[in-house]
């Protein structure tokens, strides 16, 4: 998609073809230019603290995995137990996390959390409400609410547009999932 991270930078691949692309510095420049243009619409890079916290979370996950694996029983090389493989993976994760921590000052590919990040939190909140009430009141009301919030507040559409679209979407879903496909989704009507 249009995200800069997906754009497959040709630099630094341990790959046969990286030579073919990498030598051509001009192409690299062009790709970077396109990526920079994409970045204009994204928040700025994150600071060292955020990078360090990310690394610490990875380390914590790795260590938790190590203890969990040890509790499962590690067995021996000739007789691997249920914990052998998770132990190997968790150990690796811990080490990679440490490496990431060491590089915390030099990594610039994380984005800062800004005021717009609240929009994402609001988006997740609408989904949590949806799943919390769907078994009680069916999907129609929470779906309409979710749509309305996304259109009006996250998408900044007009009230009229938001209300009409939300109702149309719920009606459409009802016709497709309940009336036509008879999917056993909890519904009110």
């Amino acid at each position: 998609m249009t995200n800069p991270h997906d754009a497959g930078t040709p630099d630094g691949t341990g790959h046969d073809t990286s030579g073919a692309v990498g030598d051509d510095t001009h192409l690299d420049d062009l790709v970077r230019e396109v990526e920079a243009a994409e970045h204009e619409y994204r928040p700025p890079a994150a600071g060292v603290l955020s990078n360090a916290i990310t690394a610490l979370v990875v380390i914590a996950l790795g260590i938790a995995g190590v203890f969990g694996s040890l509790a499962l029983g590690v067995g021996a090389a000739a007789e691997p137990g249920p914990g052998t493989w998770p132990l190997l993976v968790s150990g690796l994760l811990t080490m990679l996390g440490v490496a990431l921590l060491a590089l915390a000052r030099r990594t610039g590919d994380a984005e800062r959390f800004t005021a717009t990040s609240w929009l994402v939190l609001a988006g997740v909140a609408t989904m949590i409400v949806f799943v919390a009430v769907i078994e009680v009141v069916g999907f129609e009301i929470p779906a309409a609410l979710l749509c309305l919030v996304w259109l009006r507040f996250l998408g900044r559409e007009s009230w009229r547009m938001s209300v009409v679209t939300s109702l149309a979407v719920v009606l459409g879903f009802y016709l497709v999932f309940v009336a036509a496909l008879a999917v056993p989704i909890p519904h009110l009507f």
Partner: protein, 497 residues
């Protein structure tokens, strides 16, 4: 080579249901290629629940259509708006948009469509010849070979993927760890289930893929600030002139071969091959300064290569059972859900599925060529549909779709959790692709590692005494050590100066 299964495969394609789903697949693919917001991996993930109700071969025909159809669609926005619809169309922006500014948008789109068709078709023919050979070769693979192959596949995808390499490998590690959740197949011990009954059978692939790719991407896009509305360039005369065709012929030929070869490699795929094809054309050109200013080869080569690669990346999946990129990982998941385990035995044991899917791509490419040229105007109009309207609809399709798989609310909870995780990963520079890939390969990898250790009686050097697993592991070590070696070489070079 016995041709009768190949011909039977055409019979499968021509069944009306399969024709219909092929058409649906390529149209959806082209649409999502045009619309910025969701990539092919995300779209295929979101459509996974739909595939439950249909035959395996039909389902995969549709999903494959989405994948290669997206390569066509991504071009349109690159050329008209300087906005790559797909990562694999990023380089098309340079010359494609320059051509559009000169009033030759139609020529660029026409050449791209023809190049895509040629690249795709060449790649299908090569795939048909090569895949049975690879599968035959791999039939003797035992657990040690699969261990080495899966390890190498995951490492290549992680290192070649965009962004931070260390972070990509961490993502893969998390995927491997998530794959261990549930009952251990060897000892029946419960692992990391926290006494939750819903986790006893392990984490489901569907909510993970739908959450990380689908919801994660939608949430990530919420933070995108509003772009200034841009008027798309006008499109006139999509038929390239004879001179344009002559000038692009070489680029299309080379793009097909390069795309095919790079598509087979794990981690290669459409994006890398489009970059490489562009670079090759620029290097070969008598006057490289034309590139970036509207050289038609600069559109023809990458657009041909990305389609050829999209097709050939099916080879490792269908012959070895190793997905070569994130989208293939989702299709791998779709096959597993359908009860088909892709691997070397697929060609001989399930020829209808194998040849049905492969041959459907001929048809899909013809459909795309026929549709893309007259429908460009329509797609330009679709661009006006605002992301703000599509986002909540996609969210609802995801939430309701994931529920329909098991009729279990827990799956909705999971998809939201993985959606939030996908957002955080993208935000913090972790590509979710390696996680999903490692997750689908996780149990295969663990299984074959443990079986191998039993075979070798705990002696890990046994991997190196078998020629194939040994070779693969040597390559693994080389790829893993490459960054360190390169740093060393650069330091030496710096010392010399």
């Amino acid at each position: 080579m016995d041709l009768s299964p190949v011909i039977d495969g055409f019979g499968v394609v021509l069944e009306p249901t399969n024709l219909l789903y092929c058409l649906i697949g390529v149209v959806v693919g082209m649409l999502i290629g045009v619309l910025p917001g969701l990539g092919p991996a995300a779209t295929i993930a979101i459509l996974l629940p739909v595939t439950f109700g249909i035959e395996p071969v039909t389902a995969i025909i549709m999903l494959a259509g989405i994948f290669y159809g997206a390569q066509y669609g991504g071009t349109i926005t690159s050329v008209l708006l300087r906005l790559p619809g797909e990562a694999s169309s990023v380089v098309t922006v340079f010359d494609g948009h320059a051509l559009a500014k000169k009033g030759k948008a139609g020529t660029a789109l026409g050449i791209a469509a023809i190049g895509s068709f040629v690249g795709g078709t060449v790649s299908i023919i090569a795939l048909s010849l090569l895949a049975p050979l690879v599968a035959g070769f791999a039939l003797d693979f035992g657990p040690p070979e699969y261990t080495a192959l899966a390890l190498l596949g995951i490492l290549l995808v992680a290192t070649v993927s965009s962004g931070h390499r260390l972070k990509a490998i961490i993502a893969a590690g998390v995927g491997l760890l998530l794959a261990t959740v549930g009952r251990d197949g060897f000892t029946s011990a419960e692992r990391f289930t926290f006494d939750n009954l819903s986790l006893a059978d392990g984490l489901d692939f569907v909510p993970i893929a739908m959450g990380l790719f689908g919801l994660g991407e939608i949430l990530y896009n919420l933070e995108e600030r509003h772009r200034a509305e841009q008027a798309p360039a006008t499109v006139a005369n999509v038929w390239p002139s004879r001179a344009d065709l002559r000038q692009s012929a070489g680029a299309i030929g080379r793009g097909s071969v390069l795309g095919f070869l790079l598509g087979i490699l794990p981690g290669g795929g459409a994006t890398l091959s489009s970059l490489a094809a562009y670079a090759v054309e620029k290097r070969r050109a008598k006057d490289p300064s034309r590139f970036g200013k509207g050289a038609i080869e600069g559109v023809a080569a990458p657009e041909t290569a990305n389609n050829a690669a999209a097709t050939s990346s099916f080879i490792p999946l269908l012959t070895l059972g190793i997905p070569a990129n994130a989208t293939m990982a989702v299709i791998f998941g779709a096959l597993l859900i359908q009860g088909v385990s892709p691997g070397p035995q697929l060609v001989t044991e399930d020829p209808e599925l194998f040849w049905g899917v492969v041959n459907s791509m001929y048809l899909g490419n013809i459909l795309l060529l026929v549709m893309s040229i007259p429908l460009v105007g329509l797609f330009v109009r679709i661009l006006r549909v605002r992301a703000a309207v599509l986002a909540p609809i996609t969210v609802l399709i995801t939430l309701i779709g994931v529920y329909t798989v098991n009729n279990d609310v827990f799956d909705i909870v999971l998809v939201i959790v993985f959606g939030a995780l996908g957002y955080l990963m993208k935000k913090l520079g972790f590509d979710p692709g390696p996680l999903v890939l490692a997750f689908v390969l996780g149990s295969l990898l663990e299984d074959s590692l443990r079986r191998s250790l039993l075979i070798f009686d705990g002696d890990a050097t046994g991997f190196f005494t078998r020629p194939i697993s040994g070779t693969l592991l040597v390559v693994f070590v080389l790829v893993a050590a490459a960054p360190a070696l390169r740093a060393l070489r650069e330091r030496k070079a710096a010392d010399r100066h």
